[in-house]
Each structure stands twice: as structure tokens, then as C-alpha cells.
């Protein structure tokens, strides 16, 4: 369903638009002013006049959208006046520099969640509960089959899996921006200090994390590995797009696994032919979504991405909250899409 006319936010062909701020949030097409929740490719697109985003995501945005973009770095919790609106960015716990964006004008407040999660993640700021009259929430994993264990527990599984194969390499597929660094940070916390190999697409995104002071084991780009080096017992982190690609020819004997929320379902792992699935997501699970909706105290909720119909119906019928799916070009991260993981091109 479309947004009612006259509200603080409108749905325009370019995406979510706030007339009071003359700004678009995560626009799908080039616009003069873009407020960016985070630097994944389906939220931050090239060609806009100016970008407002959390300072920590600057390195990644410039890496992906071009070094020359006009970027206005902001801090979490800072209040900005943009046009007639008051705008603030709040930690979303999704990836480094990810934010929920709150807008307020004419006595009305809206919160756009962007992508978010509630589990602890040593590679980014934790989610901050924020209140607003109207909430626009994602619902990528909006089904009760999704329930996450802590990142620390999953990292321990990954470590045990890696260590169980000292005689051959292990290839862990993980989204290049966010998941790869989260796994590394969790491995560091488990005391891992041996060097981890990185595919080029992951390597490109490491500098902003190191600059932000995220503690991770030492890493080395795959391209810098000498020919004929012994790979047994080594761990390589690569994006899912590299699965079965020619670039990993040296790893044909490797055991492989994929770390993603989609791995909760056995069929999803089989479909892509991964050996092991590790269930770790940077999105909220079912209870995380419900908790966030409740904590926002919103009287009206719009649901985007993925299971928007299901979550909206549940909120209406079971939680008694006015909730509707919001139709638009909100592309849910689907298991089969590698869009969010491919290096910027």
C-alpha cells in the first residue's frame, strides 16, 4: 500500500522522500540530497548530489560510490536541521556506520529503520532503541523460523569447523561488507591470532574497519600469497559470488561453508551446494523485529523488504498495531542475490 499523501514521508519514484527536508532516504535513483542508512549497494546508490551518512561509513561509501562524492559525515544522536525537518541518525547495529534515521517536522515523527539487528556485534555500534509516531521497518527475516544464536556461539562453531581440517584449507563464504569483518572480530575475541586469507572483494573493505579500531586477526589478501604456498589448515574468507568461481581454483580440495541467516533452512544450503551452513545474520530475527517494533512505540508501522506481508499481518492481528506492507523497490537481500556483496563496479 502507498503512503498517505500529506505525511512527513512520501513514496516517490526515486524512493522515500521527505518534502520538509527535501531529502530522500536510501533513494533508488540519483537525487540532489540522499540520507543513507548504510553503505550496502541496495541502500547507497551512485549519482546523488550530496550524501548524508555516519562518518564511520565514509571510507566504504567512497570505495563503492567514488572518491569524489559530496559526503556530509554525521555522528550518532546528533540533531540536524535540514530544511524544515529535524533529522537524527541512530545506531542500527547492522554493519559499520549503519543507522536508523529519525525525522521530525510539524509535530510528527518518523523512524526509518534501514537494516538492523539486535544481536551483539563487535564490529559495529549496538542498536539504539528509538521512539517515533510512525516506523518504517525492514522484514528480511520476518518469519518465526528465524531465531539467531549469538555471534560468539556461531563463531565458536566456525572455529571448531576450521580447526577440524588441519590437512586442507577451509573456505568460508560471507558477505564482503559487514559479515566478513564481524566473523573476523568474533574470531579475534576467541583468541585467534593466525593470519586469515581474504578474497579481494573482502580485502577492499578492511581499511575502514581497521581505522575504526575494530580488533581482528591479521589478514592477507589472497593475491599476495606466494605461488605454491601450503594452504592446509588455512582459512579463506570470500564473498558468495566467488563460490565455484575459477578464482578459487587453488581451493578445490577445501571444505566450504557459508555464513548467513539463510542457512537456517536446510534446503537453502543444499540449493547452493555449500558443505556447512553457519546461521549468523546482520538482520533482526523474528523476535528482534517484534521487539524493535514494540520499543519504537509507533502507532503506525510500514513494513518493507522480504516478509513484509507476513510481519504486517502478524502485527495487526496478534499485536494489535496498525501495520501495512509498503510496496516499492525495496529489494530484500535474497539468498540468491549477491548484489550486496559484489565489489562496487
Amino acid at each position: 500500500m502507498p503512503l498517505a499523501p500529506g505525511g512527513l514521508l512520501q513514496l516517490s519514484p526515486e524512493g522515500l522522500y521527505c518534502p520538509a527536508a527535501q531529502a530522500w532516504i536510501d533513494p533508488w535513483r540519483p537525487v540532489p540530497r540522499a540520507l543513507i542508512t548504510h553503505a550496502h549497494a541496495d541502500h547507497a546508490r551512485p549519482g546523488c548530489g550530496e550524501y548524508w551518512a555516519i562518518g564511520a561509513s565514509e571510507g566504504i561509501l567512497r570505495e563503492r560510490l567514488g572518491a569524489e562524492i559530496t559526503l556530509l559525515p554525521v555522528d550518532y544522536g546528533q540533531l540536524h536541521r535540514i530544511g524544515a525537518a529535524r533529522v537524527s541518525f541512530h545506531a542500527a547495529g547492522h554493519v559499520l556506520g549503519s543507522a536508523q534515521i529519525r525525522l521530525e517536522a510539524g509535530g510528527e515523527s518518523w523512524l526509518v529503520s534501514g537494516d538492523y539487528k539486535r544481536c551483539a556485534d563487535p564490529s559495529c555500534e549496538p542498536f539504539e532503541p528509538v521512539q517515533a509516531d510512525v516506523l518504517i521497518s525492514e522484514a528480511t527475516f520476518g518469519l518465526p523460523i528465524y531465531r539467531w544464536q549469538s555471534g560468539a556461539e556461531i563463531a565458536a562453531e566456525i572455529l571448531a569447523w576450521w580447526r577440524s581440517a588441519p590437512d586442507r584449507p577451509s573456505v568460508l563464504f560471507a558477505y564482503a561488507f559487514g559479515k566478513a569483518q564481524r566473523v573476523l572480530a568474533e574470531l579475534h575475541r576467541l583468541g585467534v591470532s593466525d593470519e586469515v586469507l581474504l578474497h579481494g572483494a573482502v580485502e577492499r573493505l578492511m581499511a575502514p574497519y581497521r581505522q575504526a579500531g575494530v580488533a581482528m586477526p591479521p589478514t592477507r589478501p589472497l593475491a599476495e600469497l606466494e605461488r605454491g604456498a601450503d594452504l592446509s589448515g588455512r582459512l579463506l574468507i570470500a564473498p558468495p559470488a566467488a563460490h565455484r568461481s575459477r578464482g578459487l581454483g587453488r581451493f578445490t580440495k577445501a571444505q566450504n561453508g557459508f555464513v548467513s541467516g539463510w542457512m537456517a533452512v536446510r534446503g537453502a544450503r543444499h540449493r547452493r551446494g555449500y558443505g556447512r551452513g553457519f546461521v549468523m545474520s546482520d538482520h533482526a530475527d523474528w523476535s528482534g523485529l517484534l521487539q524493535s517494533v514494540r520499543e519504537s512505540r509507533a502507532q503506525q508501522v510500514y513494513v518493507t523488504h522480504g516478509q513484509s506481508n507476513v510481519l504486517a499481518r502478524y502485527l495487526r492481528e496478534v499485536e494489535g498495531i496498525n501495520a501495512e506492507p509498503l510496496e516499492g523497490h525495496f529489494e530484500a537481500e535474497r539468498f540468491d542475490d549477491e548484489q550486496a556483496t559484489a565489489p562496487a563496479s
Partner: protein, 551 residues
């Protein structure tokens, strides 16, 4: 149970045959015989008994989680498997944080105890009592074992290992010949410690396998490059009959007819059992069960045989309308001696003698019930395809090529026997409806219905197909379907009639049950015709012409 759950995870987590073999071997060597027996039966897919329905498991789960049914349905659509959906949704129970009491939960019980006592006991309970017992059981299981237990309860246990691989693993773990284990396994395996001990006992002379059929030897799809350098004359050619493979045995214990699926099908084919009684004791024939009228030149189509399959005690009129015949192509046992190591040529000579002898005893009316599969020879390889194409008027599926000196081996061993099937029939049809698949195709539109044009410019549903596209094409088509849906009927989407696919199929028969007036056999997608507009797809008339041309 713990060991079996870990085996399941190992098998499920690799596509490497050698890794699977290693995991199986280690399992069979380390667990008690009773557990090994149950694992074997489960892995071979022989014990898929439904103890509690998926629907009931869902009810028991929702009673505690309090989630609405429609939400469960949405979950099921994403997961594609009922036992797994229950296992996942169960995590949302409100009292989850209470620490499970692991002691005395039965987790340490063996697989055999679970299969013989625990699960049947759950199934025997009713109503509330059953619900509470199942919930208590779930509460103390870790997620991976919960999935396994649900699959065992609902009869949906499956994992990617073939019977051949399991057989090989058992043989290896016991230090036996694979062929012997395969033979011992023929005709079914009832899990028990004793049965497993007998299966893995050292090979003894004079071992009594007389209650069992021989393991079937299977042909591989022809690779002409493998035999072009040989003389065509060193090969025996036969039609590849379009019936079901069978083994017809007369031994001291009586007569039996076994299907390739190792089912005893005596009751369905009394006329074949009657003919076997005229064979000398100590005979085992390999051949094809097929419907064939006494004086007809060619057998009937597979559709006629289908009327006989799975039907115990067929009526006289059915036996008259669809008389079964056994087309013999090999002799495995003669005068009580196992001939399988002898060359085909010799087995064939004995088979022909035996048939002659049988004919002298049979009355004229039943003389067509046992037939020899006619042999042919070839002079030049270049004539092979022309010869194969003559299979269609014979109502055969193609040609078999068997090396004259070939022994009769176990399972699919390449090199000795080849099958060379007819080129499939083909029609271009338009995609009309799509439905999501299940299992690893859950949440992907992979089950398609296709239509052909009728005379009035409308498309009429003609066939369904589920296979033939690669993963990339499936994802591409899935996106297209989501974006071009015109109507939804529950799980089915009607799409704009724009995409054309070439369908391949093995046969086409008139049918009253199908709206278009005929049914095709084994339809699958052979090509996505992105080059063709829907208007150029085939019509019902072209399908009818194809059918008449073959009749």
C-alpha cells in the same frame, strides 16, 4: 542417537562420495550391530514409516508456541519441509529459556532404542497425552536432533546417499565383497542386531541365499567413444523394452517374481508365476514384465502395464485385457548353479535351450507368456542410430548393447552393458502456471505447467515439467514469474503467456483425464526458447499429428 545425528550431519554436509563413504564406514565400525542395522535400513530408505503425520506434529507445536496457522503456512512455504518447519518454529516457544534437563532425557539412548521403543511409544499415545509426550521429547533435544526425530516420526527421513554407496560402506567395514553384501541385502532387510551380524558375517561356502533374488546388473547410457574401437560383432543388441525389470525364479522353495525395486510381485502377476512353475527348479531369469497379447507383433504400451501394477489379485477380465508376458534376456541360475560369472554368450545359449524346453510343456494358449528377447547384430557402428530408431514401432525405448563376453555384475558398472535410448519427442509449449517447489527448491518457482494452442487462439494446459533448467535459469525464471504474475490461486501463480519452452518427452497417449486429450510420458524442459514468441509455439493439432504418426 548422538552418533547417528552426527553421521546425518556429516552426510548432509558434503557432496564428496569418498567423504560420505569414510563417514559411513567409521559409523558402521563403531556402533553396536542393532544401531548399525537401523542406520542401514534408514539410509536405504526402507523404513519410511509415518508414525505421526506432519499435520499432527504441527498441531502439537502450535499448541505451545501459540502462533497462528497461517503463519505456520508462510513458514512452510519458505522451508519446504514440514518436519523441518516444526523444528524451527518450535524455537519460538515461550518457555524456551528454561534450561532443558539433559539428564535422563533419553538422548543417550541408542538409535535402536529410539526406533524400536521411544518413537513407536509416542505414536501409540493419543490426544493430550501424545501432545505432552512429544513436547517433552522436543524440549530436551538440541535443534539438529529435533529435526532428525521429526523426520523419523513423520517418515520423511532422507539423505543423499545411494543404496550402492551404503552397500559399499557396509562391505568395506566388514571386509567383504560388495557383490556378496548386495546379494545378501536383496529382497529386503529387517533391522535387528542378528540381521546385521548375518549381513556382515564372513563369506562361507554353501551359504543359503535361495530365498533371495540376485542383485540386478544395470546398463549405463551409451558413450559411443567407449566402444567405437571394438568390433560391432562383439556386441549383442536387443530392444530396450518399455516395461518393468523383473527376476523370475523357480527354486525348491517355490516360484517368485521380483521387481527391480526388490518387491515381491507374485500376486500382481499370477500368470507369470504359473509359467515359472513349468520351468525346472533351480532357474533364475532376468527379463522384462510387459503387457503383450499372444499373437501380437509388439507389446502394448507402458500405460497398459500400469493398469496391472500394484494391483493384487487382478480380475480375469483385466488379465484378459492386459495379459502379462515375461520377456527373458538373461539366465542367472541354471540347474541350481550361479551362472553370473560366465560370458553372456554362454548364458544366452542355455537360455535359448531352456526356452525351447519350456515351449514343449506349455499349452498353445500360454506359449506367448514367456518370450525370448530377440537378439540382433550390427555390421557397422554408423548404422547404430538408424537401428535404434526402429525401436519405436516395436514399442521399445531404444537399444541395449551387451558385450558377448560380459559377466553379469552387480549394480551399475560401466563398460559391459550400454543403453541407447530413442531421441525424445519434442514440442514447443507456453508457460502458463508456476508453483514453488519443496525441499531445496522451496520458495523458488520450479514446478511449471505448459499449454499448447487450440484452434481458437487459446492455450490449453498440456503438460507439467519440473526439471531441465539449470540453477541460473531457474533463478532467472523465478524472478520473471514473480514480476509477471497475473493471478494467484493459493500456491499457484498464473503468468503472462509469453515464455516458450521446448519440452521433451518419451511418449504420447490419448487420455480422457487430461483436458487437452492426451498425456505425455516423462515430460521435461529441454530448452528455453527465448528466440520464439508465444504465437509460434506448437498447437494441439501438431501434438495430435505426432500421436497419430506414432500409433
Amino acid at each position: 542417537m548422538h552418533a547417528f545425528a552426527s553421521l546425518f550431519q556429516q552426510l548432509d554436509g558434503t557432496s564428496s562420495t569418498s567423504a560420505k563413504l569414510e563417514a559411513l564406514n567409521a559409523y558402521f565400525q563403531s556402533v553396536p550391530a542393532a544401531d548399525a542395522a537401523w542406520a542401514l535400513a534408514l539410509l536405504m530408505g526402507k523404513r519410511r514409516k509415518r508414525l505421526i503425520t506432519g499435520r499432527r506434529l504441527r498441531e502439537i507445536c502450535l499448541a505451545v508456541t501459540g502462533l497462528p496457522e497461517w503463519l505456520f503456512e508462510a513458514c512452510h512455504a519458505q522451508v519446504g519441509d514440514s518436519a523441518e518447519t516444526v523444528a524451527l518454529v518450535w524455537q519460538q516457544r515461550p518457555d524456551r529459556s528454561a534450561t532443558p534437563n539433559q539428564a535422563g532425557t533419553g538422548l543417550e539412548q541408542s538409535l535402536a532404542q529410539w526406533m524400536e521403543q521411544r518413537l513407536p511409544a509416542l505414536a501409540a499415545l493419543q490426544g493430550n497425552e501424545q501432545a505432552e509426550a512429544v513436547q517433552a521429547c522436543w524440549r530436551c533435544l538440541p535443534a539438529d536432533q529435533l529435526l532428525l526425530v521429526n523426520k523419523l516420526l513423520s517418515g520423511g527421513f532422507r539423505v543423499g546417499v545411494s543404496t550402492g554407496l551404503v552397500t559399499r560402506a557396509v562391505a568395506r567395514s566388514a571386509g567383504l565383497e560388495e557383490a556378496l553384501v548386495a546379494h545378501r541385502l536383496m529382497g529386503g532387510f529387517t533391522p535387528s542386531a542378528e540381521a546385521f551380524a548375518a549381513l556382515t558375517a564372513a563369506a562361507g561356502h554353501g551359504e543359503d541365499l535361495s530365498a533371495k533374488p540376485y542383485p540386478f546388473f544395470l546398463a549405463s547410457p551409451l558413450e559411443l567413444g567407449q566402444l567405437e574401437h571394438t568390433s560391432p560383432e562383439s556386441w549383442q543388441l536387443e530392444w530396450k523394452w518399455d516395461g518393468i525389470r523383473g527376476q523370475l525364479i523357480h527354486r525348491a522353495g517355490g516360484c517368485s517374481l521380483w521387481s527391480r525395486g526388490e518387491e515381491l510381485i507374485n500376486e500382481a502377476f499370477p500368470e507369470l508365476i504359473a509359467l515359472a512353475e513349468l520351468l525346472p527348479q533351480g532357474t533364475a531369469l532376468d527379463g522384462e514384465v510387459i503387457v503383450w497379447h499372444g499373437d501380437a507383433e509388439a507389446p502394448e504400451s507402458f500405460a497398459s502395464l500400469q493398469r496391472r501394477l500394484g494391483r493384487k489379485a487382478p480380475s480375469r477380465s483385466l488379465q484378459r485385457d492386459c495379459p502379462a508376458a515375461f520377456v527373458a534376456y538373461d539366465l542367472l541360475e541354471h540347474q541350481g548353479t550361479d551362472l553370473r560369472q560366465q560370458p553372456l554368450q554362454q548364458r544366452r545359449a542355455l537360455l535359448e535351450q531352456l526356452h525351447q524346453h519350456w515351449l514343449q510343456q506349455a499349452d498353445t494358449a500360454s506359449s506367448g507368456r514367456l518370450r525370448l528377447s530377440a537378439t540382433q547384430s550390427l555390421q557397422r557402428w554408423s548404422e547404430l542410430n538408424e537401428r535404434r530408431d526402429q525401436a519405436r514401432p516395436q514399442r521399445a525405448e531404444g537399444l541395449m548393447l551387451k558385450a558377448l563376453d560380459s559377466p553379469y555384475l552387480v549394480g551399475r558398472k560401466r563398460g559391459h552393458w550400454w543403453k541407447h535410448k530413442l531421441e525424445p519427442l519434442r514440442l514447443d509449449a507456453v508457460l502458463l502456471y508456476a508453483q514453488a517447489g519443496s525441499g531445496k527448491r522451496a520458495n523458488l518457482y520450479t514446478d511449471y505447467s505448459f499449454g499448447l494452442w487450440n484452434g481458437e487462439g487459446a492455450l490449453v494446459t498440456f503438460a507439467k515439467a519440473y526439471s531441465g533448467l539449470d540453477d541460473g535459469e531457474i533463478r532467472q525464471l523465478d524472478r520473471w514469474i514473480r514480476a509477471h504474475t497475473t493471478e494467484r490461486f493459493g500456491p499457484v501463480r498464473a503468468v503472462e503467456p509469453l515464455q516458450v519452452f521446448e519440452l521433451a518427452f518419451e511418449g504420447i497417449q490419448p487420455s480422457k483425464r487430461h483436458k487437452c486429450g492426451f498425456a505425455v510420458r516423462f515430460p521435461r524442459i529441454s530448452r528455453w526458447r527465448t528466440d520464439k514468441p508465444a504465437s509460434e509455439a506448437d498447437s494441439l493439432a501438431s501434438a495430435r499429428a505426432l500421436m497419430e504418426q506414432l500409433a
